[in-house]
């Protein structure tokens, strides 16, 4: 089944590029969800005997990332009146160039890292590129909701990275991590709702009142 797993890895990379160029918020949320789902499928394709706990855990991840998170985020988008557009600080061509650049850098880094031999090609570069895409979303998109999305994409990347390294964590720890991510998205969703109510928008560029050198009362 390795060819299939490799196809998935290629798919994950393509989704990274899609995230970098998509202008619709709803589509972005769905792409990130899709990425989470295909990444959740990976452990089931490892071949050989699949334990029940692996199966259950993969199911939990797919359910959370594919159903719960997009639902929460779309709901936050609607209730906060976030609008349909992803607003960016840099143009889409620049975004995709950065993304491709990151992929080339990750491939180089992946070949240099002294990791235990990965049996699926490209898995390390794909995970690093995904993490970078998440950072790109956080730093260059202005809406609060895209920053949560970026956090989720980083999480996807780290999850794939964990698969690449074959680090087995006990079930309890995996569940605790998953619970944390879930609560994080949940709390951030509530925060977005409050931001939209207090500021009448969720543009984080406006969240700049707190700083050290220039306070509003000094400008006046």
């Amino acid at each position: 089944m390795h060819t299939f797993a490799e196809l998935i890895i290629v798919f994950v990379i393509l989704l990274d590029l899609a995230l970098a160029v998509t202008g619709s918020l709803a589509t972005c949320i769905r792409i990130a969800a899709l990425q989470g789902v295909v990444a959740g499928l990976l452990p089931l394709l490892a071949g050989g005997h699949i334990e029940t706990r692996t199966f259950l855990f993969a199911f939990a991840i797919i359910f959370l990332k594919g159903v719960v998170f997009p639902w929460l985020l779309l709901r936050a988008r609607d209730r906060s009146g976030a609008g349909k557009e992803v607003e960016t600080l840099i143009s889409y061509p620049v975004s995709i160039l950065l993304c491709i650049g990151a992929f080339i850098a990750s491939s180089w880094l992946g070949s240099r890292l002294p990791l235990p031999t990965a049996n699926v090609a490209w898995i390390v570069p794909a995970s690093l590129a995904t993490i970078f895409t998440g950072f790109l979303l956080i730093t260059t998109r202005t809406k609060a909701i895209t920053q949560v999305l970026g956090y989720l994409v980083i999480e996807n990347g780290i999850y794939i990275f964990g698969l690449a390294l074959f680090v087995e964590q006990p079930m309890m720890v995996e569940l605790a991590i998953l619970l944390d991510v879930f609560v994080a998205v949940f709390v951030m969703g509530i925060a977005i709702f409050h931001i939209s109510r207090e500021f009448d928008h969720i543009d984080t560029a406006e969240l700049s009142e707190l700083n050290d050198w220039r306070r509003p009362e000094d400008v006046k």
Partner: protein, 493 residues
Amino acid sequence: MTNALLLLPLGAGLLAFLIRNDGTRRLLLLYTAAGHFLLALLALYEGPSPVCSGSQPAPWFAYDALGLYFLVITSLVFLGAAFFAVKYLASEKRDPGEDSEAGFIFNNAPEAVFTGCLLFFLAAMTAVTASRHLGMLWAAVEATTLLSAPLIYFHRHKRSLEATWKYLLICSVGIALALMGNLFLGAAGLKSGAGLELDTLLLNAPSLAKPLLKAAFLFIFVGYGTKMGLAPFHTWLPDAHSESPAVVSALLSGALLNCAFLGILRAHNICVAAGLADFSAGILVLFGLLSIITAALFMLGQRDYKRMLAYSSIEHMGILALGAGLGGGALFGALLGALSHSLAKAGLFFTSGLVLMAEKTKRIADVKGLWRRAPRTALLWLAGFFLITGTPPSGIFLAKFLVLRRLVELGHYWLAVIYLFALGVLFTGMARVFIPMTFGEREGKEGEKPFTEPADMMLPIAAFFVCVILAGLFLPGWLQRLINAAAGNAGAL
């Protein structure tokens, strides 16, 4: 014992959501804090649990000396905070806040949610101190972020919301990097089957893959360093500390930052055991010094006295990192500094809450001659200034001195000069704030009601300050032994 320590605040937190009566809920907070402290003392009396030999699976939650030390600090700070919070919440109820800068009235978050999150926050911090499995430690640290975010947003206005958002996002992303670090660490021990349990990792340390271990330490350092507020990852810290209520600022500074430091110390300990002491110590020294210098630079332009205290926290976190990196006597100093800083800073943040109640503003320029309006608060404010800047006798002076002595001992004269210079700048910068605030010429404001100082809110402050002074005068033998044992768990060579 460990289970009781974890379950008590967890259960009380759940209960806090159900109780309708404010008075009962405040008592619950106080009794839980007291019970938790008693349990922590009992755990201290029992001593650290024996090190796992590797024959049987290591437990995920158990206390070594280092965990025990940080548990006691956390519990003590929380007890003081609970004591302060009871009166604080009552006064907030009577007199809802007025925004000091924009001048409008804002609401507070429901008290049940606040108290519940406070107790859950304690449970999460207890889990951090008890974790023997690094994956569990990560999950617990992330939980502290999520549970404290609603606490920062207690006063519901724009600025606290902005602070909450920055805190949530920067810390969550930062801690995600620590998860990468954990994965690298797991990969480093893959051949020897070390897993992510602290005991097995330490046992198999020499056979860990070195390059991967280095990568692991870097990621864990950046991740938990963000949470600890080390420069240049500190950007969330001044915002969160200045906008949250006094109780929460005290807990963030006095308890939470230590928990993140514990995460870094665990990773450092593994590096030392694996023979990479120079590598991890170098990074700790570099970023420790950078934090002290950054704090010194930003101290000079401060206009908000709570932000100023936040920068002083960054300074002390820098000293802790520096001390841990230098090892030897400096590590002892760093651990003693963790205790003294927690108590002194928590006391100062409580006092800042009283100042805010008396003056209704956080702007330094608008507070002058505090001693005329609130003499006892002014006295505590001034005492706190001398303690936090390390004027002898105090535990902080001892800590700073031990770090300096170690710098000279190792022959890092230039670093010692930079260190002393930065501390001097910090002292001057803070004196420029504290002295006029306390003694300046008071401008009478129209229609100002006289301010009655709540004596029972000052009790925990005074108690904490006395403890800090005592720590500088003489250390009881049991505490010295505990710190020495804790230093053994924190990568002492």
